[in-house]
Symmetry: none
Subunit: 409 residues, 2 copies
């Protein structure tokens, strides 16, 4: 099956946003063994959308459009698909009811132009939107298939994953199975060196991806629809785990370091408190991202000022005077203080200089201390991170979580 | 002048990388007043590259290709441009010397296929590559212009900025200026309804973009290279502000709601404390994202459990028993408590049910109370948000910041 991605949106042609939808769909389609030969982007212009559709339908079996499903007059993807396929537009009652319900729940007034989001080409299979107001659809005619998806990435990825992908999978009879190993505490080139001889296989294949501070190893096999991929995946996974040890912290793309830490806390019925300075609530926020966080996270404190460190956490004036707020001593007192007041089993603290200002020769931007208090006492670690404010805060957050993870192993 | 970006690279069609080159070039071309009507991406396939080139030359004055300039046999963009324009390839001696110098400096052996990077279509204006080995070029024929650029973003951006942009600027004598107004507290379709008659202008033009909970209005004018765009931009901006009132919270693409709130606090030398339950540190983290947050944010507390709400913030057991943790009463006591212990001028509180679990008929997932304590007393607001846990937390965070913003106006 040959597919093509047709992105509709003037904001793409003006370079205001990057076309992450095309990348996402391409990656997911390639996992199904579907070949993508073209990406095309046009603006919110009826003639150019239709011309691009006509061309795409002429050379591809499957055309996936992204964008142009909003309530405004500019949004015309569905209408152009209907015109190009010679189909009328018809009201889809369940979508209208869903729209009305959405506006009611939100306490907002539904305007006349919102209603166009409930109209679809006759015969379309409607794909409800769980993340926004614009449903998508799949239309089939003369052996061609057009899938119409919304542009906002969180709506698009959810609709693809939960609705379009199963629909397409039922047609290809092949499947690709991937397993992802999440790695922290070791750099990409070191991972590559340790796994060097494992990259040459063809089924399974091994690839590495890296993001801020962490590396993901992907093991992929192609097999028949009804074949169990496990016997192909297991030996390579076992070998990688043997070589990387406890640097492998999790599996899957959705399981973040915070999820893994939270699950370990919940398994052990242990609790945690947080004392954050330069991360400023980032660690708390990551834990609270995970459903169930309330059973493990007793409380968090963002103590950005010295006053708050003393008053809330009991850091001593002596420590702040003699060693400063960015010191191992302060990190230790923050962690011990947070554990003491909350009664939590563990307390994590972070204090550092995220920049861009505030650095000195002795204490440069990027200097971060992490503290961990438990019934074993208090440990601290010193880090010197590079990068901008966002990256320094992110690396501080991840390393703090990783210290807690290792304490929980 | 109408331009088109033709990206060549199988890695784009496999979704291994996002097409940031197309975004970069589009943004830069729009600044020159050059209209980009199409992006096209094809793989490293001679027939499809040529077909895409032929089509692009048929409908655009300027075609910018990216990628396919490497030393391997797969890399064939220059060759296809030459074939399509009916030009021979010829050795460019300065490029060959530069290549030889590059390999010598890095102590590497230059292979036979590296030499193809020094061949160009006859008559091409060669663009040296200061960041890699593959030079680009500009070829003109029959009133059409083809610019051939390398794919790696750091090579592409440098070559565009230092060589192609000056080349193009000398031809257009036009510029585009845009202004962005950031809007919160009003939905996209309501914004559109209020501004309906303003969308029909041609210079300036008006467009809307939306993200979670907020809308951005873009005003764009095209003017002569040396003309001041301000007199064209100001009247429309003034009209929009008159119609949307204080829902316009900021200007520019980089100024987030948190930035605006922080700046207002700093201007007034006012301080804030936070008491977060379901947002779990998200508000603190957004404020700490902004350099200078330490002067306004006294402290934050993530009080996820009832125990922490009572112990840290002084919420009463009576309130929790009678009204529950997700109630206007609890939000009020959280805000008052956070203000009391910190001595801050303002304290914001959030308590709600982010889901997926924890909802009841009376208190469904998405129910959120926001409290704001100041020297004027305590106010609370009730919200019912839709969406998943992440979206509910995001909307809670933005609405809390917006309540503080409005209090600071």
């Amino acid at each position: 099956m040959v597919a093509e991605i047709l992105s509709v949106g003037t904001e793409l042609l003006l370079g205001q946003i990057v076309n992450s939808d095309a990348q996402y769909l391409s990656r997911r389609l390639s996992e199904l063994g579907i070949n993508v030969y073209h990406h095309t982007t046009v603006g919110d212009n009826p003639a150019r959308v239709r011309e691009a559709l006509r061309q795409a339908l002429g050379r591809s079996d499957l055309v996936i459009t992204t964008g142009g499903l909003g309530p405004t007059e500019d949004d015309l993807t569905k209408e152009m698909v209907a015109q190009e396929l010679g189909l009328d537009m018809r009201l889809h009652q369940p979508s209208m009811r869903a729209l009305e319900g959405y506006f009611e729940r939100f306490g907002r007034v539904m305007t006349e132009n919102n209603k166009k989001q409930a109209y679809f080409p006759v015969g379309a299979h409607v794909l409800p939107n769980r993340k926004g107001t614009a449903p998508g659809c799949v239309v089939e005619k003369d052996g061609k298939m057009v899938a119409v998806l919304p542009g906002p990435p969180r709506e698009l990825t959810d609709m693809y994953d939960t609705q379009l992908e199963p629909f397409l999978r039922a047609r290809t009879h092949k499947r690709i199975a991937s397993r992802f190993l999440r790695i922290f505490g070791i750099g990409e080139s070191e991972v590559e060196t340790r796994l060097k001889d494992l990259f040459s296989g063809s089924n399974p294949t091994l690839a590495l991806y890296c993001a801020t501070g962490e590396v993901t190893a992907r093991i992929t096999v192609m097999c028949e629809e009804n074949e169990d991929p496990t016997p192909l995946l297991n030996p390579l996974e076992k070998e990688i785990r043997a070589r990387l040890g406890d640097c492998v912290y999790g599996e899957g793309l959705k399981e973040s370091l915070a999820h893994v830490v939270l699950n370990k806390l919940l398994e052990r019925k242990a609790t945690v408190a947080l004392a954050e300075s330069c991360t400023g609530g980032l660690i708390a926020s990551r834990l609270v991202d995970c459903p169930g966080a309330s059973d493990a996270l007793i409380e968090g404190h963002v103590t950005y000022s010295n006053q708050a460190k003393m008053r809330v956490l009991g850091v001593t004036g002596k420590t702040l005077r003699e060693f400063g707020a960015v010191s191992a001593q302060c990190a230790a007192e923050m962690a011990a203080g947070a554990r003491g007041i909350s009664g939590a089993d563990y307390a994590l603290s972070v204090t550092g200089i995220a920049g861009p200002g505030g650095g000195t020769e002795e204490k440069p931007v990027g200097l971060v201390y992490i503290g961990l208090a438990s019934n074993q006492g208090v440990e601290t670690w010193r880090f010197l991170f590079t990068g901008d404010r966002g990256r320094i805060r992110e690396l501080s957050c991840l390393n703090a979580l990783d210290k807690l993870r290792r304490a929980l192993i």
